[in-house]
């Protein structure tokens, strides 16, 4: 949602695969060869004993980060789209106003607060951060699914009905494909936000790319913070540019 405003017109001329390749390659280089940049980090922190975060390998941290974000994304997409579909059906229509309100209200809950409330219930570790990410990421997806499904012209649905399609066929072959670009935009927003938010997991004992940042803040070592921030930003940019491609392919398939 945020990116569609600025990114779409500016990248129109660039070749399709350029950006994800570029960001992905940079991410890979930074993860595998962070130690090679030691002189640079030495310049940032001349007095520190160690300038490259070494408590865990960066690719391990990246893997854990991706795992947390991925699990959260799968759960959010399944639950969010399902909820959006159910409340727009005839039987679930009662729930539509409430779910709509919740979707707009939910962004009000700060992720730190959600995380802090999840820890007493679920203990330390990876589970609370996944729960916090799911709760926080659910809302853009539900909101966009509702917008997308409600945006489908009722004449088209009537036409499909008149052609003898069953409600499930209408949903699968008419409504969902037509709503897909809007839903995908919601997924994109949700995943991009969650990549950055997942770093907070490091404060509740879930090891991921937030670890170097926390270690850097605690020890006053800027080099660690830069390494964590750089990797997370590159990851976010890679994933975001992949979504850009997906969206553009979806759009071109719909218009053809």
């Amino acid at each position: 949602m945020s990116n569609s405003l600025s990114a779409a017109p500016s990248r129109k001329q660039a070749p399709l695969w350029l950006w994800p390749l570029l960001w992905g390659a940079l991410l890979l280089i930074s993860v595998v060869a962070m130690a090679a940049a030691e002189p640079l980090f030495r310049w940032i922190e001349p007095d520190a004993r160690q300038v490259i975060y070494a408590r865990a390998d960066f690719y391990v941290l990246l893997g854990r980060h991706l795992l947390v974000v991925g699990v959260a994304a799968v759960v959010t997409i399944v639950v969010g789209v399902l909820a959006g579909v159910l409340v727009t059906r005839q039987r679930g229509r009662d729930f539509l106003p409430l779910v709509g309100q919740l979707a707009s209200l939910g962004q009000t809950f700060p992720p730190v607060a959600v995380l802090a409330l999840a820890v007493p219930a679920l203990g330390f570790g990876t589970l609370p951060i996944i729960v916090a990410l799911v709760l926080y990421g659910l809302l853009p997806i539900v909101r966009n699914t509702l917008t997308g499904l409600q945006g489908v012209d009722s004449d088209i649905k009537t036409a499909a009905h008149a052609m003898g399609m069953t409600p499930i066929q209408i949903l699968r072959q008419v409504e969902l494909p037509l709503a897909a670009p809007v839903i995908l935009a919601g997924v994109r927003t949700s995943v991009t936000i969650n990549i950055a938010t997942a770093a907070l997991g490091a404060t509740v004992g879930a090891s991921n790319l937030g670890d170097p940042i926390i270690a850097g803040i605690v020890n006053g070592n800027m080099a660690y913070v830069v390494q964590g921030a750089l990797t997370i930003a590159l990851l976010a940019l890679s994933v975001d540019s992949l979504f850009e491609i997906l969206q553009r392919q979806l759009r071109s398939r719909l218009s053809s």
């Binding site: 600025s6 409430l98 820890v119 800027m222 913070v225 964590g228 921030a229």
Partner: protein
């Protein structure tokens, strides 16, 4: 479709009498939670995890009967919804919320051993689940009765007052109350710091954001670059941005004594404010830009035709028409800043996040709650307040 809605067909009238599925299922889930989950937990001291007690042990037979009755009443009224029934629903909802602390008082008499002054009562899963579901019921009833946002806010304030009164007078054994008593001065200071940080950051970003948005409208070249930069800033985790500002600011404070005298240093308020403003700029600029752009050209043409000068057109036509969307931006920005300020506690900026991270460090969950709950409430109050303001500023003349 609109024609169909307008026709008073018998089917539509029948639909009005259909059971309200939302409230019905919420009532069933609440009953199930009430009977199966732990109502309260009792811990011998601050760190040890408490043992859970079911509703029967916690409230005794009279309490359980009363709560079951009220919870089933929600379901019964929802079976045949009408305006009267929705009002009755609202009343039983309020009764339930007002009775919740009374139940806690009862269980503190029943379960807490008076010989153990350290013993503390914690809210069990049933309490949280039912409280959350009751809030959902409240939203649903508000929508059905078509009440304005102000009503639930007033009702919840009344309920909060009852909770506070009970907590202050009779709930000495409640864990949250004990945590608060142990550091009440610190708590008040933290709330003050939190609000101060948020309001300074938001007011600066409102001014800067509006200026930026206006510049963008004038120089379209600037628009692309600025949006790309602001979008990029959002991909950096808040944690990292706070951390990244520590070094340069410490360096600046060491090199420029004047800045150090102003209170700028590596840790604390300065990096927190800068990061908060940086994050707040994107929603602010985006909404201001969209708000100013979306004003209909026909209206502006009419203003021009009436002989208004360009400055007049901006201040008297474009800005007032853009105000609701602009306020929406302020709302998003403020709510986001309230959450981010909690993270700023990690770099020593104070605020309510201090309790969260200290509590996490000491594995003292009640202290975490002491930080998280006020943040949540603050966010909700600001959201409701600014939302109501934007609604009020959107009279019939403005689409």
């Amino acid at each position: 479709m609109s024609l169909m809605d307008a026709l008073p067909t018998p089917r539509l009238r029948w639909e009005g009498r259909r059971p309200n599925g939302v409230l019905l299922s919420l009532s069933v889930v609440m009953l199930a939670a009430f009977w199966s989950l732990d109502a309260v937990s009792v811990a011998p001291n601050r760190i040890v995890a408490g043992t859970g007690y079911g509703a029967l042990e916690a409230f005794g037979w009279p309490g359980v009967l009363l709560a079951t009755l009220l919870l089933s009443a929600i379901g019964l009224f929802a079976w045949q919804p009408s305006t009267q029934h929705y009002r009755a629903l609202l009343a039983s909802l309020m009764a339930l919320m007002a009775l919740m602390p009374v139940g806690l008082i009862a269980s503190s008499y029943l379960l807490i051993d008076p010989d153990l002054p350290q013993a503390r009562l914690g809210l069990g899963a049933a309490y949280w689940v039912i409280l959350f579901l009751l809030l959902l019921c409240l939203i649903e009833i508000r929508l059905r009765l078509k009440l304005s946002r102000l009503w639930p806010t007033l009702l919840l304030t009344a309920v909060a007052l009852i909770w506070w009164l009970c907590a202050a007078l009779w709930l000495d054994s409640l864990a949250l109350v004990q945590e608060f008593r142990a550091r009440d001065a610190q708590f008040v200071r933290a709330v003050g710091q939190h609000i101060t940080l948020v309001s300074i950051a938001v007011s600066i970003s409102v001014v800067v954001g509006m200026l930026l948005a206006m510049l963008m409208r004038r120089y379209s070249r600037l628009q692309k670059g600025a949006f790309a930069l602001l979008n990029f800033l959002q991909t950096i985790p808040s944690l990292a941005l706070f951390g990244l500002l520590l070094g340069p600011l410490a360096w600046l404070a060491a090199k420029v004594p004047f800045l150090a005298q102003l209170g700028v240093s590596g840790i604390g308020t300065a990096p927190a404010l800068i990061a908060l403003i940086a994050y707040s700029l994107l929603p602010m600029v985006r909404n201001t830009y969209i708000a100013l752009e979306e004003v209909s050209p026909a209206t502006l043409d009419a203003a021009k035709g009436m002989g208004m000068r360009s400055g007049q057109r901006f201040w008297q036509v474009r800005l007032p028409l853009a105000l609701p969307v602009l306020l929406e931006g302020v709302r998003i920005t403020t709510v986001q800043a309230i959450g981010l300020t909690a993270v700023a506690a990690l770099i020593g900026a104070g605020g309510l996040g201090t309790f969260i991270f200290q509590g996490l460090g000491q594995a003292a969950m009640d202290m975490v709650l002491l930080g998280a709950l006020p943040i949540l409430m603050l966010a909700l109050v600001v959201d409701a307040g600014l939302g109501a303001l934007a609604e009020a500023l959107r009279p019939g003349g403005i689409q």
